[in-house]
Symmetry: C2
Subunit: 352 residues, 2 copies
């Protein structure tokens, strides 16, 4: 029923006639039409919580560029918000929680929200986006990783040193494990509810796992993502539902990440994709990994950087092109068009 | 003449009876006596520019803990300040430049400052600290890496996306190379002037090289650090002057960093030091790499983390213990005492 299933095929390492691509944060502030809708919504959170507007912004980048997948427009912090922590956005400051988790009593009382009740607005958005896409390209659902969610929950917002969660990790690892247990359960239910609502692939964003030591990454981040991979619904609508895991700053641990049970590993821009492929072979598909800043370059530079990534991966199945991190709000949209065109045309050439 | 030369010996991979240690940012805001001196100085910059007060704060951690080296108290941005960019510190905001480098004309006119004239206050501080140390432990001089200095110079301060310098890297690499050429010359002269004034080892801090792609790291950061290594004075006062290079987030590129011409490589906390040693053998000494957040732990946890690093390196010459990044201002000083004691006593045990 899907007109373009190249993205799903590539995640399962099946041959495609071109390298499919999408862009992390493709529905976002670099698009004037996004800013217009957000202006109408009133705030970022109202935009996320309104299924019609979430559908509208999800489809905006697809109207501009022939991308091979759509991704649910939502926030990474919907789960802790549904747990009662009180998500809000202070002007120009990023996400904050009214009630960060620091206290033993609060940790003991934490429970996983029922996604079909407390996160129903997300499921409504997934259904509405699926209808609006009407089989053009697949829809990606997503969640933050348990550790990344815990970072925001314990810090009460973003951080440049993560001293509260790391203090807990070294002083009260039992409390942190309890938070991660509950959050892991919540992530599994949340992603499976998205799949039940129509998500055709899912991605776990581990934005902050890369700030840990090697053993702490294994114990506090990767271990729980492995459980998420195990708990995921594997098939829906008669199709495999592929899964992607992405740890920013995780290139050092690529072998372990590739063994965590996901179909694909997202790479940030620091590692050469050729080296990544050498290290893990074709055990999993790879997604990535152009430097988002390369989109500040001239068309020639963008085409060169696309070529570097495509040729680095080589002529094998199992590559989804993407940036190595979310697109910058300062990106000229016409440069995205150059990249999309270069990925499609160059990858068709490579396959000849 | 040095009473304790264990630090210099370890950097040259000579045997020592214990693993020497110092702490990145050891003279800093976690010490009440530092905050008192800073209060008297009026501002951070006045503290840096007053050789008597810089001497006072440099010695404060040594009065508390039996550390094996002192490090010059100064700011990483003294070179661009001496180039005329106008360094200032906005309240609670970190360093800023009044005149960031964005314009081609400004870049073409950039010149390396004469460190004995424009940075004389640093040389006076080095001389004064050497006198005050009177041979107890060696004094480390330091500089930011050319790329890291360029980041601040082009961004005009700290950044979370580095979009100005990365925009320049992808749009006008010729301009960025010009900045890096001049800055490399400045770093060499600056470090050599510190050595001539009495610094007995030097360290290059590449705080932001880890935000680059693999080829861009080689072209815009490592290449210039290699030139710095070549240009450094190798001997002073009849002794070898060892050099250390540190790239935060550089674990992926460890082999290339270890071949850049420095005597030692500083590791951040993300990599297991055992894996680092496996990858580079005894080509260079290693410095690091306990997680600074482990100092928020209990004494038992701190001792365990010290053991993990010491045992990870193993019973070989060539290890300087340190944190993997600067110490947090929220660290209880008594936990530093636990770490220092654990490093000295455990490493003496390992050598038995």
């Amino acid at each position: 029923m899907l007109k373009n299933d190249s993205f799903l095929k590539a995640l399962l390492r099946q041959p495609t006639d071109h390298t499919p691509l999408w862009v992390m944060r493709q529905a976002g502030r670099y698009l004037p039409e996004y800013n217009a809708t957000r202006g109408r919504a009133g705030s970022f959170l109202e935009l996320c919580k309104n299924p019609d507007l979430a559908t509208e912004v999800t489809l905006q980048p697809l109207a501009r560029f022939p991308l091979d997948a759509a991704i649910l427009f939502s926030d990474i912090l919907t789960i802790p918000d549904a747990m009662g922590l009180g998500l809000y956005f202070a002007d120009g400051e990023g996400p904050k929680f009214e009630r960060p988790l620091r206290d033993e009593w609060e940790v003991r009382n934490l429970t996983a929200p029922d996604p079909t009740v407390h996160l129903r607005y997300v499921m409504d958005a997934v259904k509405s986006i699926r209808r609006a896409l009407s089989g053009s390209v697949p829809l990606i659902g997503f969640s933050g990783s348990p550790f990344t969610l815990a970072c925001y929950m314990v810090e009460g917002g973003g951080s440049d040193d993560f001293r509260h969660i790391k203090g807990m990790l070294y002083r009260r690892p039992d409390l942190l494990h309890r938070i991660l247990e509950v959050t892991t359960e919540a992530v599994i239910q949340y992603l499976n509810a998205q799949i039940a609502s129509g998500a055709q692939a899912v991605m776990v964003f581990d934005t902050w796992g890369g700030t840990l030591t090697t053993p702490a990454y294994e114990e506090f981040s990767l271990q729980y993502m492995r459980r998420v991979a195990e708990g995921l619904t594997k098939e829906a609508e008669g199709r495999t539902v592929p899964s992607i895991v992405y740890t920013k700053g995780g290139a050092l641990w690529l072998e372990s990440i590739a063994s965590a049970g996901f179909d694909a590993v997202g790479l940030d821009w620091t590692i050469n994709i050729a080296d990544a492929r050498k290290r893990i072979g074709d055990r999993v598909a790879l997604q990535g990994n152009m430097d988002p800043s390369a989109l500040f370059g001239t068309p020639e530079i963008i085409q060169q950087e696309v070529a570097r990534v495509l040729n680095g991966f080589g002529n094998h199945p199992g590559h989804v092109f993407n940036l190595g991190h979310g697109i910058s709000r300062f990106t000229p949209p016409e440069n995205v068009a150059v990249m999309v065109d270069a990925v499609h045309s160059q990858s068709r050439q490579i396959r000849l």
